[in-house]
Amino acid sequence: MNESSIVRRNDWSGRILFLLLTLFGLLMLAPLVYLTSTAFKPKAELFLFPPRFFVMNPTLLNFTDLLSVTESSLVPFSRYIFNSIIVAGSVVIGGIAIGSMAAYPLSKHKGMPFGRLIFKMIILALMFAPAVTQIPQYLVMTELGMMNTYWALILPGLASPIGLFLMKQFLDQIPDALLEAARIDGANEVHTFRKIIFPLLQPAVATYALFSFIAAWNDSWSASVFTTSDQMKTLPFAIMSISGGVNDIARAGAMAASSFLMIIPTLVVFIVTQRKVMETMAHSGIKG
C-alpha cells in the first residue's frame, strides 16, 4: 500500500482536504438519511410545518401501512418482493454460471479462432446501453410467447458484457502455469474449470454478483414492457403504483418505507462483496 496519507504528513492543506471530504461525504448521504428518517415518521410529522429533517418519534406504522395500502389492490406487496427476489436471484446465479464459463476460453485458450473477434464484440457492446436494443427485444419476447413470464425478465439480463469483461480481465492475470500443471495431471477442461478456474475467479464472481444484482434489482424497464399483468411486476413498479404520482402526500410515508426497503438489499450486497470487488476492479482497465 502507498502510505502517502494526508494525516501522516500532518500538514494543514491535508487536514482541510480531509475535513472537506468528510463534509462532502455526509452531504452525499443526506438524502438517504432523509429517506430513512421519513420512512419512520408518524403521520403527524409528515405533515408538520415547517418540515423537519430528522424523525422525532420513530414508528413502524408506515411499514404496516404499506401492507394495508396494497391489500386493497389485487396484488399484495409481498408478491412484488417475491418477484424481485426470483428475478434478481436468477439473473445473478445464471449470469455467474454462463459468464465465468465464457471468460475461461476467452482468457486462457489463446489459439482459439475468432477468440479476439468475440472479445472485440464484447468491448463494442460496452459502448452502448442495452436500452437501444429494447424494441427488437420486445418483438423477440412477443414472438417467443415469453411475455408475462419470468423468462422475459431474466434472459436478457444474463449475458452481461460488462460482467464477462471483468471476469476475463481478472483471469488474464492468473498465471497459466497453474493450468499447465492440471493438464499434465490429465485433468480435462471441465475438471480444470470446476476445480481450478472457478475457485480462483471468486473475487470476479463477487463483483459480477454485485453489479448484476444492482442492475436486475433496480431495473424498472423490463417489467414495465415485458409484463402486462400486475402479478408479474417487480418492486420498482410497486413503488410507482403506491403513489398516484410523487406529490401524493397522503401516502408519503408508505412510499418512503417502500423505497427504503428497496435500497437496503443493494447496500447489504455491496458491504458483503466490497473487499473482493476492489480486488477485481484493479484489473478493470481497457487497453484500447
Partner: protein, 317 residues
C-alpha cells in the same frame, strides 16, 4: 540416441502440422472452448447482436406491430431531424445534460477516489460507502426522496430552507418550472454518478506500484499534483478509459430519473430526453419503425463518442 532423434523429428513434424492446419481443423481442436462460450454467446447474440441489426433494419420501415413492416427508406430519419421539434428538443436536453453530468461526474469520481486514496486505509471504506451508495440505489426509489426535497409547496425541504434563509419569498415549483427541471435532473444524476467507474479508479489507484512513486521522487517530483500528473494518471490510463466508456453510456441514457421526477411529458418538454422520446413512440404509440430510428441515432451517438474517447485514451496499436 537414434530414438531421441526420431522423437524430436516427429515432434517437429507435429509442430509443423499444428502450425498451419485448416481453419476448420483449428475450430474442431478448440471445440471445448466454443462449448464453454456457447451459452453466453447464444444469449448475447439473441438479445444484443440480433436486436442491434434488427433495430437498424426496422428504422427504415413503418411498423406498428399489427401490420407487417413497410419499407419507407430514410423517411423516419428525415421526419426526426426535419419535422419532429420535440425530438430535437430531446436531443438538445440530452446533450446539455450529458455535457455537464459526463465530464463533471467523471472528474468528480476521479478526484474523490484520489482523495480517498490519500487517507489511511482503515477509514477508506466509510468514504467509499458515502460516495458509492447513491449510485447503487434504485432511480425509482431515490426519486421519491428527491421529489420530497424539491417538493413545490412549503413542505418541501429545499423550499422551506430557502425561504427561512431569505433566498426565496415563496415556494418555487422546482419540478414544474421550465427553468429548474433540467438543473434538478443534473444535480440528482451527479449525486448518483460515482458508480462502477469510481470503484475502478479507486482500485486502479491502489495498484499503482510504490516503486513508481519512489522512482519519481528520485527524478525530482516534489508535490502531490506532480505525482498525480506524471505518475498516477499515466499508470491509470486503462482504468480511465474504462470509466470514460461507462460515463458516456450512462449520461446519454438518462431516463428513470427524468420520468420519475419531471413526469412524462414534463412541463413544455423541459425534461424530455432521447430515451423518453424513444419510450413514448415505442411503447405508448407503438410506432416501432420510428422508435427504432431514434434508437439507432442514440446508438450511433454512444458508439461514436466512445470511439472518439478510445482515440484519446487508448494505446495506439
Amino acid at each position: 540416441m537414434s530414438e531421441v532423434i526420431a522423437r524430436t523429428s516427429t515432434g517437429k513434424k507435429q509442430k509443423a502440422a499444428s502450425l498451419k492446419p485448416g481453419l476448420w481443423a483449428q475450430i474442431v481442436r478448440y471445440r471445448m472452448s466454443y462449448l464453454f462460450l456457447a451459452p453466453f454467446m447464444l444469449l448475447f447474440i439473441m438479445f444484443t447482436v440480433v436486436p442491434v441489426f434488427t433495430a437498424i433494419g426496422l428504422s427504415f420501415t413503418y411498423y406498428n406491430i399489427l401490420e407487417s413492416p413497410r419499407w419507407v427508406g430514410l423517411l423516419n430519419y428525415k421526419t426526426l431531424f426535419v419535422n419532429d421539434d420535440i425530438f430535437l428538443k430531446a436531443v438538445g436536453n440530452t446533450l446539455k445534460f450529458a455535457v455537464i453530468t459526463g465530464p463533471v461526474g467523471y472528474c468528480m469520481s476521479f478526484v474523490l477516489a484520489w482523495l480517498i486514496h490519500q487517507i489511511p486505509h482503515k477509514y477508506r471504506f466509510f468514504y467509499t460507502l458515502c460516495f458509492y451508495t447513491p449510485a447503487i440505489t434504485s432511480g425509482t426509489a431515490v426519486a421519491v426522496v428527491w421529489a420530497y426535497l424539491f417538493s413545490g409547496d412549503r413542505y418541501g425541504m429545499i423550499n422551506s430552507w430557502a425561504i427561512r434563509l431569505g433566498i426565496l419569498d415563496e415556494p418555487w415549483l422546482w419540478l414544474k418550472d421550465v427553468k429548474t427541471i433540467l438543473p434538478v435532473l443534473i444535480l440528482v444524476s451527479l449525486w448518483m454518478s460515482m458508480g462502477v467507474g469510481f470503484l475502478a479508479f479507486l482500485a486502479g489507484l491502489a495498484n499503482v506500484s510504490r516503486e513508481m512513486y519512489e522512482a519519481a521522487t528520485i527524478d525530482g517530483v516534489k508535490y502531490r499534483w506532480q505525482e498525480l500528473w506524471y505518475v498516477t494518471l499515466p499508470a491509470m490510463k486503462p482504468q480511465l478509459l474504462f470509466g470514460a466508456v461507462l460515463t458516456i453510456v450512462s449520461s446519454l441514457q438518462v431516463f428513470d430519473i427524468s420520468v420519475a421526477l419531471a413526469g412524462n411529458p414534463s412541463t413544455l418538454y423541459a425534461g424530455h430526453v432521447i430515451m423518453t422520446h424513444l419510450n413514448d413512440y415505442a411503447f405508448v404509440r407503438f410506432e416501432m419503425g420510428y422508435a427504432a430510428a431514434i434508437a439507432v441515432v442514440l446508438f450511433l451517438l454512444m458508439v461514436g463518442l466512445n470511439r472518439f474517447i478510445f482515440n484519446i485514451l487508448g494505446d495506439k496499436e
